[in-house]
């Protein structure tokens, strides 16, 4: 008698573009990210198809100064993409700027 092999999958979709994906079951907290044309090209999560939720970008709350961070195709610096679920939960993915260390020539020193 042959054994029955069960194979399950998860469908993923995006409310802002036509991106879809189908994967085997992932850990509960795993996310499928994509560069979303509907969210100014920013990296955003796909959500499980049929999930009652809303995905939104969050604009940076502080001055940009000389920070180097991701900006959308609209030129706006975004600090996070937030997924709000109908039951009150939310996921958050933050866009961390790169930490920098600059080595620059010092004009005063050079002119000595």
């Amino acid at each position: 008698m042959g054994a029955l092999l069960l194979d399950t999958f998860i469908d993923w979709s995006c409310d802002h573009c036509y991106a879809t994906d189908r994967t085997r079951p992932l850990p509960a907290h795993a996310a499928r990210m994509h560069a979303c044309p509907g969210l100014h090209g920013m990296i955003a999560p796909l959500v499980r198809a049929g999930t009652d939720c809303k995905v939104t970008l969050v604009e940076r709350g502080d001055y940009l100064r000389d920070e180097e961070t991701r900006t959308g195709d609209d030129g706006v610096p975004y600090m996070a993409v937030r997924t709000d679920y109908a039951d009150g939960r939310n996921d958050l993915a933050v866009f961390a700027p790169v930490a920098t260390f600059g080595v620059r020539r010092n004009k005063d020193w050079r002119s000595r």
Binding site: A28, R89, A96, A99
Partner: protein, 169 residues
């Protein structure tokens, strides 16, 4: 002052630069093969601290100076534990570009759903360093640009397209 920007600690650069240029006492080592061989951890912090890139080396480590673990570290017992030892940076890479050297890694998600209310930035430290002037020496702090909150969900850090940290000339 609180958070204002994202910087590499000066003391994190002092070692490799001065070790080659002068006989300055090295504040620490980054392991025989540099950062590629060490475990880099990330921890989350609120806005009650003032990160200082020029802090003395003894104050740049995790659980020292501004980075004293306690109420200011934003953590979850299971899914983003204090100290970051279970939140190590994976898939580290090194990039050499025009006038730029960068360290990158895979985006970091927590271990599961959690609730955090007041996250402003993260500390990236070398979790392999356990002795010397300071253990778990800090490499950089990255400012998220405002208050971040998550309720019963996942908290993921998406690093900049150019990396976690970089040196420019």
């Amino acid at each position: 002052m609180a958070w204002t920007d994202s910087r590499v600690f000066t003391q994190a650069v002092l070692n490799p630069l001065t070790a080659s240029a002068w006989s300055t006492t090295e504040p620490t080592t980054y392991g025989a093969n540099g950062l590629s061989a060490d475990s880099l951890a990330v921890t989350l912090w609120n806005n009650s601290i003032t990160p200082d890139r020029d802090a003395a080396v003894a104050s740049t480590g995790y659980n020292t100076g501004q980075w004293a673990s306690g109420a200011n570290e934003q953590k979850d017992a299971t899914n983003w534990p204090a100290g970051g030892a279970s939140n190590l940076l994976a898939s580290k890479t090194y990039t050499l570009g025009t006038s730029v050297v960068a360290l990158d890694a895979a985006d970091r998600a927590g271990n599961g759903n959690l609730t955090l209310a007041n996250v402003f930035g993260c500390l990236v430290h070398d979790d392999t360093i356990t002795a010397g002037t300071v253990a778990k020496q800090g490499l950089s702090f990255n400012y998220f640009g405002g208050s971040q909150a998550v309720t019963g969900g996942t908290f993921t850090i998406i690093w900049d397209a150019t990396g976690v940290l970089k040196f420019t000339t």
